[in-house]
């Protein structure tokens, strides 16, 4: 995906960014069109970015979700975080209750209660079943480009 996107503008403005994907095969994994039943790359549109953002962010910028808690506790969250739940925690394959208990109560609640977030944080929670058929369309619905 070579289209202009939010990451290019973030990098140009000197902002930091990172994607946290739950059940990512490995930290920094950018495998395209992967669906292992839990992690689906189509839900992680940042791996489809090419050009400058991809080169710069090929490593830690696309991390496993386990890094999120440590980055939060160490106050090292980037300016822009893109959180990708797995197929259960996004309430697609599991109930909304499960998603709420695991994804939000367990992971997002600590973020919202943190001093860092309370100061100037903004969390956008997107729900979408847009019927997108390609990763590009899906990523567009995630507000990346």
């Amino acid at each position: 995906m070579s289209s202009d996107n939010i990451v290019r503008h973030l990098v140009a403005a000197g902002k930091t960014w990172k994607a946290y994907a739950k059940i990512l095969p490995s930290a920094g994994d950018v495998t395209l069109d992967l669906d292992n039943g839990s992690y689906a790359s189509r839900h992680n549109p940042l791996v489809y970015l090419t050009g400058r953002p991809r080169r710069r962010g090929a490593g830690p910028a696309r991390g496993a979700f386990t890094q999120f808690a440590s980055d939060l506790s160490n106050s090292t969250l980037p300016n822009y975080s893109f959180i990708v739940p797995n197929l259960c925690n996004d309430a697609h394959d599991c109930s909304l209750g499960t998603a709420g208990r695991v994804a939000f109560k367990g992971n997002i609640d600590p973020l919202v209660r943190s001093t860092q977030f309370q100061q100037d944080g903004l969390l956008l929670i997107l729900f979408d079943e847009s019927g997108a058929t390609t990763p590009t369309e899906a990523a567009g619905s995630c507000g990346l480009w």
């Binding site: 289209s3 202009d4 996107n5 939010i6 290019r8 503008h9 973030l10 140009a12 403005a13 902002k15 300016n79 822009y80 919202v112 977030f117 309370q118 100061q119 100037d120 944080g121 903004l122 969390l123 956008l124 929670i125 997107l126 729900f127 979408d128 567009g140 619905s141 995630c142 507000g143 990346l144 480009w145």
Partner: protein, 135 residues
Amino acid sequence: MWVVVSAKVKRGYQSTTLYQHASTLRLTGKVLGLTSFPNQAATAPAWTSSSRREAHTHYGARPMTFKHKLSSRLALLKDRVVLASLAVLVTAAIVACELPVRAVDPAVRLRTCWSPPKLLQRAKTRPPTSRLSRS
């Protein structure tokens, strides 16, 4: 649909305006201090929760229907009525604080202030102002 969580948004606010995904992108960039936006975000209507009036007049992504306009205007009117009522109450409170007729020695300064108990109770129990938006 998306939900906004922040200490700086209006609590419980629900927008009735239709926005497209590019507006999400624009909002994201705007919050992060970007001055340029990719693709359609450059011209997309950006949502802001700074005021209800602004949200209804500047950032509509499509023409509003008559019913939508009516509800919007009623909401704005309601705000004005609340402000006007508040102004009246404040004026009443100031008037109520006027010095009473001096029936005693002028050297003794006596000042009384009357406020409706319900008003005081409301002010104490009113939750802190915060903003929450959703569209």
